[in-house]
Amino acid sequence: MTAYAWGELALQLVVLSFLQIGGALAIAPDLHRLMVERMALLSDAQFAASIAIAQSSPGPNVLYVAVIGYQAAGLAGSLLTLVAVLAPSSVLAVAVGRWGRARQEWRALRAFKAGMAPISVALLGSTSWIIVSETPGWRPAVLAAAAAVVVWRTRLHLLWLIAAGALAGALGWV
């Protein structure tokens, strides 16, 4: 990659950083357009695999951005993409957090928090629905439902549950 291409990529990612409303995956289509179609830094298959890798490994799923950067330009690429995507939104989050704490008593702000709470909870549920509904058959749904009940009702360590899922998958049960 030329210095010019690095600069262009960083600049575009900084802009995209502010568009990640609702989560890092919100900008996946834009990243695809930029890095696969326009700049041709990686292939379509590499892009899809990057998202799958990031989702199947521990940590926040924003790391898919780092994997895409890695596929495009190695370690330096992964650092550049991750920092460019994270830094602007992070500064904004801290600023918004401080702004909100200074105005805790505002009616508009209290209304906002109260109003958004049920939506936040519902959105957690819909993410799961999408994952499960894309895996065919009834057994995946049973496995996911069992995990939901266990985490809801018990304090069993989460890694046991993940391990059980890995085992069920490795044996070809789901």
Binding site: L86, S90, A93, G97, G115, M116, A117, P140, W152, G169
Partner: protein, 176 residues
């Protein structure tokens, strides 16, 4: 810091681990406070859990806390995910490995649902009231899960209705 443990354990959804550690193990936040932080984290651009970590780190320890929380959350998983990316090419062809990844993905989907169920207990004290919360929550769920509308539009649409409604309800209990 605690966020390092969070990042490491968060297969598929760090929210699950974050909720357990912050509310149940460390008791830094109540479930209600957690939902509030998460709401703000979802609306502010950026990865939700990273935003929650940043705001929480900043609240307790200023900008250094925010930086430490984010670094803790991302550091080890960053190294792991790159190792995985490098190894992926010949791993993915083994059916057992692909199956295990699928199984882990399904369990983490279930864990997220379980966490949502836990957090919904915090909604009972909401000024919106239980019926309105249920309607708004189901509307958001249907729009995203079944109609597959982009999250930003759902937040804007259902979110503004919820905001207006909560504004009205808060007015009823006297201005402040």
């Amino acid at each position: 810091m605690a966020f390092m443990l969070l990042g490491l354990q968060g297969f598929g959804g760090v929210v699950v681990v974050a909720q357990r550690v912050l509310c149940e193990d460390r008791r830094w936040l109540t479930r209600g406070e957690f939902v509030e932080l998460l709401s703000v984290g979802q609306v502010v651009p950026g990865p939700n859990v990273c935003n929650v970590a940043l705001m929480l780190g900043d609240r307790f320890f200023g900008w250094r806390g925010a930086a430490a929380a984010l670094a803790g959350l991302l550091g080890v998983p960053f190294a792991l995910v790159l190792a995985l990316a490098a190894a992926y090419a010949h791993w993915a062809s083994l059916p057992a490995v692909a199956g295990a990844l699928r199984g882990m993905g399904l369990v983490s989907a279930g864990l997220i649902v379980g966490t949502a169920l836990k957090l919904s207990a915090a909604l009972r004290g909401s000024p919106l009231g239980v019926p309105a919360s249920l309607v708004l929550g189901s509307a958001a769920f249907v729009l995203v899960a079944f109609l597959r509308l982009p999250l930003a539009w759902v937040l804007l649409g259902v979110g503004s209705v919820a905001w207006a409604l909560a504004w009205g309800r808060l007015g009823g209990e006297g201005r402040r």
